[in-house]
Each structure stands twice: as C-alpha cells, then as structure tokens.
Subunit: 431 residues, 2 copies
C-alpha cells in the first residue's frame, strides 16, 4: 500500500464524501492525527436519521434532528467543510470532482454517500409516495400532512382520503411512523380530525429483524392505538388518489408513506468501481475499495466481500458509525506505515418505538450466542430515549436536546406543528 | 347597538379574523364569557413577530417563534380554529366569507388582519428585496442567506455580492436584523465567509422613534460590530444584481432586506368600509368600525378617528395586544347590555436589540410626562429578553422557550442553521 502513502513532509489530505453517520465518525476519528480533512456533503448539515419520523409528524423541529456540519466539527481544527455535490472521482489524479467543476485532491478517500430510497420499480410509487429517508423528505411530508389535516379539519365531511395515511413497510421506520401518525392527528389538530392510519406489510409479521414475540407485541400495541395493520399485503401500485394492493383491494388516500426500502447511493455506479448488490461499492474486509488502495467505503454504500461471519451487517446507524470509525482508524494506521485491520460488526441490538412511552428493544446477551434480552413497553422506551440522546453526535448540545425531548415527550401540545412554505423567491405567496 | 345583540337563548357567535397579537388577545379575553369564538387565519400558527429576525438569521427555529393556534387555545373551550383565507364580509347576512366559499356567521366580528409589507412603489423593490414581516418571509430569507453563504464559502474569490447584505430601514427591525447578520456570517459558516452588512437609512439618524441618544448609541454599537451604516441615504431602485441609491451610488448584492415599512392588510379595501391612511379601517374611539355596530377592528389594520391624545398609537406589538384585549372586553360588555368604553394606548416604552447582550431600551417614567428612562447595553438586553419571554403568549411553554433562548444566546454554535428546501411534491430534488 505504499502507493497510497503521500510524500513525507506534507500533511496527507483526506477527503470524506458524505456527512452521514459513517462520514461524521470517520472524520471524528481523525481528530488527533496529522492529516487535513475535507468533508463534502450536498447539505450543510448532518441528519440524525433515526428521528426523521419525528420531524415528519411534527414532534421535533428539523433543527433538533439536523445539525450543521460546521457546528459538529467546530472544535476539530483539521476539518474543512465543503457543501457541494460529488459527480465523479478522478482515480488517476486522485481527486474528487464536484458538480461545479471544483476538484478536491486526496491522499486518502472515504466514500460514505449513503443510500437512496428504493421503490423496487412499483408502478407509480416514485411519483406518488412520500419517502422518509432524508431531511428534505421529512420536511416535505410534514408540510403535506399538516396541509391535508387542516383541510380535513375545515371540511370534515368532504374527503376521507385526506385524513387517511397509508404507511408501506413494517420494519422499524414503518412501525415508528405509523405509531407517531396515530398520535399526531389527535394532538396536532386538537381532535378536529379523526385520522385513519394504515400500516401495510408484505410479510406475515412486523419487525422482521426482531424476534417473533417483539413483532407480535408491536402488532398488538399499534392496533390498540388505532393503527390498522395489514399483514401479508403486497402493494401493486400507487396513484394520486390512493394505493392498490396485489389482491386488487384499494385504499383511497392522499398520503402513501414509503418506508419499505433503500438502495446504495448511485455514486458507486458513477465513479466506476466494482459494484455489489443494489449498486453498493464492494470493499475488502478492511473496508478498502477493491483495486483502489487508500480509498475506503463505509456505511450504507459499502458491501463487504466476503461478508464478516458470513452475513453482511444490516444497513443501520450503528453499523455506519462503526464502519466510519474503523475507516478513520485505518487511515491513521496507513499514515503510520502500519497494516490495516479487518472490520468486525458488533451488534448492539435493535429498537423500535411504538408510541410515547412504548417501544420494543432486543439486546444480544454477550457470551450467549443467539440469546437476546427482550425489553418492552416503558422500560424499552426509556432505553431507546437514553441511547438516542447519547448518540446525538455533536448536536447543539446534548443537554438541550435531552430537555427539549423529554419535554416534547411528556407534553403533547403540538405547538411546533406550524405550516410554513418557503418558495425560492422573495415574493410572498399571496393569494 | 341593540341590532348587534343576538336573540337571548343562543350563545353569541364571535368571529375573529387574524391570529396575530390583536386577534389572539381578543380571543383570550373572551375565555370566561358565554360566547362561541371562531378564530380564522390563513396560517395554522401565531407568529411572534418581534423575533422574526432571529429566524431569518438562523438563531431560532421557526417552531420557537411560531406556535400553532390550536396549541395556544388548547385550554380555552369556547374557541374553534379555522385555517383559511378571508375574501369578504357579507354585512347584510352578518357572515365572513372564506376563499373556498365557506361562510362563518357572526354576531360580533373582530377584523385583526394586520399589515403587509409596503415597498412605497420603489422600482424593483417588490420583486427583488426580501421582506421580513411574516414567518414565510423569515424562512425564505433564512434559506436564501444560508445558500449564498455556502456558495461564498465554497468559492471565496468568486462573487463579493454573495456575501454582501444590504438592509433598508433604520428602525428597530432594520437595526436588529443588521446586528444579527453581522454575527451570523462568522458564527454560522465558521469564519469561512467575511460577510459585509450595510444598513441604509434615509433619515440622518437610526431609531427615529427613540431619543437622539439611543439612536447615536445604536449607530456606534453597530459600527463597532462591523456593520456599515449609511445615513441620509435614500434607495432609488433594486434589481437582481444590487441596489441603487438616489445619489447614483450602487452596492452589488444578492440580498436586499426590506425593513422600511408596512401598510394595512388589503382586507379593509376588499370588504368595503371607510378607509384611513394606507388602506386601514377607520374605527371609533371604542374600536368599533364606523357604521357597523358589533364589528371591531384592532391592531395594525385599524386607525382610530379621532386619534386618542391627538396622536395615533404606533404599529407595534404592545398596541395590537392592548387593542385586542380592549375589543374582547367591549364584546363582553355589549353582550351584557353595557356601553362600550374608549380605547386608550398605554406606552410601555421601546426596545431594540443590537447584538447578543447589547440593546437600547426607553421606558416612559409614570407621572413625568415626556421623561423617559434610558437603559443601554447588557441591562437593556436582559430587560428585552425578560419582556419578550413574558409576552411569548401560549408558546409551547414559557420555561422551554426561556431555556432554549438563554442557551442560544450564551452559545453561538450555529448548529441550527440547517438548509432544507421543501418543494410541494414528494419527489426529492435530486440533481
């Protein structure tokens, strides 16, 4: 790997593409090393993705679920932030090429561009369903929901489709979104609207990555809270008036929320490297990109070949965090002339919130392979809240987020559910 | 005024148009009276206007400067909220007519539709300047500023116009906005951009409604903080590349902030009542609309004829609050068969913030006519902070706002300056 080591005398340049969990953690890991890091993202902020559903349902303002990258790295002197879109990588010249033509030369490169929504080619879904993967998705869905609820409140008899929301996908995102939506109608329009929330899952159970018992519990809890859960129900198509299932049945709705899948960012495809499943970038056991020494991929965009322990790690935040840290450490090792180490995923367990004060949590018991500790209800929710606060990396401050959050969780004023549309021009949208 | 008294046996219907300071306070005043109130506004939230400049400069999220109307009146049982645009009033049938055709019958009506930006017909201003009167204005300006700053940070040598902001108007809004902008560049893009802030005032002094001494102090403080202040400078026109003064001089800028004036909402004109200066609704000493018993106007849309004490009260929040409360009381009096009372404005003084920890405040001394108590610097800022927290009516809760605010004021992480664009469609804005 000597060809990836820069000439002595100059500080090695590290470019990190993507300020998600993987990118942020790779940069953070390099804080005390003699390198110059440029972190590039098309947004000026990091998104705490596991809480996006709370933005979409107006329980948290975007500012508490995103933090500007500059604020995150305010105290890390060796980081420069560049807001821009990455178009390509010039492998020969070792430079990242931005959309505006700017080039960022690198000695080490970390590709951590994440994933995008995967609609699996289902007819009409891309045009009519609301994804929930980015902050923009969450803000758009929030505004749309508030508009529909206000219209339904104004004319209660008019259009039931306005107060019906169909959530597709019974994984953690779908379960959490459906649970929050069930509360949102009542709390944010003050009982003026009776919202119908339908959760649709193609498999015969919810939370497929959890135990049978947890899936059952999520099902019971959601139903008790008024969510209609349709299992064994595959979606055939969506249009501007509703969603149709493979059975031929149909639900009229103005809001189909897509929480059923993601795929690797198209960046891997664009830069011409060996691709794995769904366009992901194939990396070796140390997360270096095949054939590109000094170049790493981490997080949702990376697929390890061969997978560690025979199974690929799941596309979840803890995996991205661990991979980001690992990549940061490997760059430091290469800089010090050491060999890289293989990545190994440590499964800390899974959590899904069903409602305020109600969650399911599963934690692997160390030393007992395959045994998990199940926690449910309020203790699981408290555990979830604690873990999420701890992980809110570099947000404005942890204490503030904690108090805001506890407050939002204890009260339900819905005061933050304000509906502001911002167009690109200074002209106000007067009617 | 017997024709405005409803038949006994039914609860009188009160319709309040506008959820600004006047409307909110009129409704609140009617809490313990036997009336049914409908509050109608085109937004689902109340805006705490004096803090809009903090939204525009990314110091506070919109959710902390706006609160949903339903949350404000959660505990007031006799209030219904209707989100919609008022088109007309049917005076014969005594009903407010909404844009969608819906009609809200009333026994008593409060018109508190506020004001809109007044560009005084200056060429190009309406199309190219950014007003700062509504939440939408503030959010649009915030996104625009963050975009320009990010572009300037990416290409520092490219375009000085991107990092130049011209604020037109040396009143409290202009002074506060210029002061916050001077801090924003450094704090939100981490010193990557050297922002140029120019404050332009046609008069030979700032803060014209304050004492000479306070105006002088604001000028000195702003200049010390790096704001270029141009006095005696009238604006002739604006275009997409900058602003031109009557002297013929010009400043290249992508951002002209308009803080120089408002006029009454066009609703007065639309409904056909006697109009005063700038299209305001002429009301008698008790704030009842001339020729329309049981109909009141309050706040920025109302002009009292003849003005109390010979001078009209200023278009500021305390006046709107006092007028709103007065109108609520008068409706209660009419309902009880009592005579109405004349409104009298109590001047509590004026405040303008220059920067975090720096303000000017003037308070009339009771009993000493024309004498004012001047407070400046940190004590004035603390006074300002205290008064504003107390007045944040019905926001999610006062304690939370206070802690958020103190925190934002003590730190300057800029972590909330996240740039999220939300379009109307579910499709992400991929490039």
């Amino acid at each position: 790997m000597s060809d990836s080591t820069p000439q002595s005398g100059s500080r090695p340049k590290v470019v990190v593409v993507g300020a998600g969990f993987a990118g942020i953690n790779a940069v953070h890991q390099l804080a005390r090393h003699e390198v110059d890091v440029t972190l590039v993202d098309r947004n000026n902020f990091h998104t705490f993705q596991p809480l996006l559903y709370q933005v979409a349902t107006s329980y948290l303002p975007p500012e508490q679920v995103g933090a500007t990258i500059r604020a995150v790295f305010r105290k890390q002197r060796n980081v420069k932030v560049r807001v821009g879109r990455v178009d390509d990588v010039d492998w020969d010249e070792r430079a990242v090429v931005l959309e505006d033509g700017d080039r960022l030369p690198y000695d080490y490169l970390v590709v951590a561009a994440g994933a995008t929504t995967n609609f699996f080619g289902i007819s009409g879904m891309e045009d009519h369903a609301w994804p929930l993967y980015t902050m923009g998705d969450a803000v758009r869905l929030r505004l749309h929901l508030l508009e529909e609820l206000e219209r339904a409140a104004a004319e209660p008899s008019a259009d039931l489709a306005r107060q019906t929301v169909v959530v597709v996908g019974g994984g953690p995102t779908g379960v959490e979104t459906a649970g929050a939506l069930a509360a949102m109608g009542k709390e944010h329009v003050g009982g003026d609207v009776d919202m119908r929330v339908v959760l649709v899952e193609a498999l015969p159970r919810l939370l497929n990555t959890f135990s049978e018992k947890s899936g059952r519990q999520a099902l019971d809890d959601l139903r008790r809270r008024g969510v209609e859960v349709l299992l064994d129900t595959a979606v055939a198509s969506a249009d501007d008036k509703g969603v149709t299932f493979k059975s031929g049945e149909r639900i009229d709705t103005r809001t189909v929320v897509w929480a059923a899948g993601v795929q690797a960012s198209p960046l891997g495809r664009a830069v011409g490297v060996e691709l794995g499943k769904g366009g992901s970038i194939v990396v070796g056991p140390d997360l270096q990109v095949k054939g590109h020494p000094g170049v790493f991929a981490a997080g949702d965009i990376a697929s390890i070949s061969p997978p560690p322990h025979g199974t690929p790690p799941p596309l979840v935040a803890p995996n991205a965090i661990q991979q980001g840290k690992h990549v940061g450490r490997q760059i430091a090792r290469l800089g010090a002339g050491e060999q890289t180490e293989p990545f190994s995923y440590f499964d800390k367990g899974s959590m899904a919130v069903i409602a305020r004060g109600d969650a399911v949590t599963e934690i692997p018991v160390p030393g007992l392979r395959g045994r998990i500790l199940r926690v449910a209800g309020l203790p699981a929710w408290l555990l979830w809240a604690g873990v999420h606060v701890v992980y809110l990396i570099g947000f404005r401050n942890r204490v503030k987020t904690l108090t805001d959050w506890l407050w939002s969780s204890l009260t339900s004023s819905g005061g933050g559910a304000i509906l502001v549309r911002a167009t690109r021009t200074p002209k106000p949208d007067v009617g």
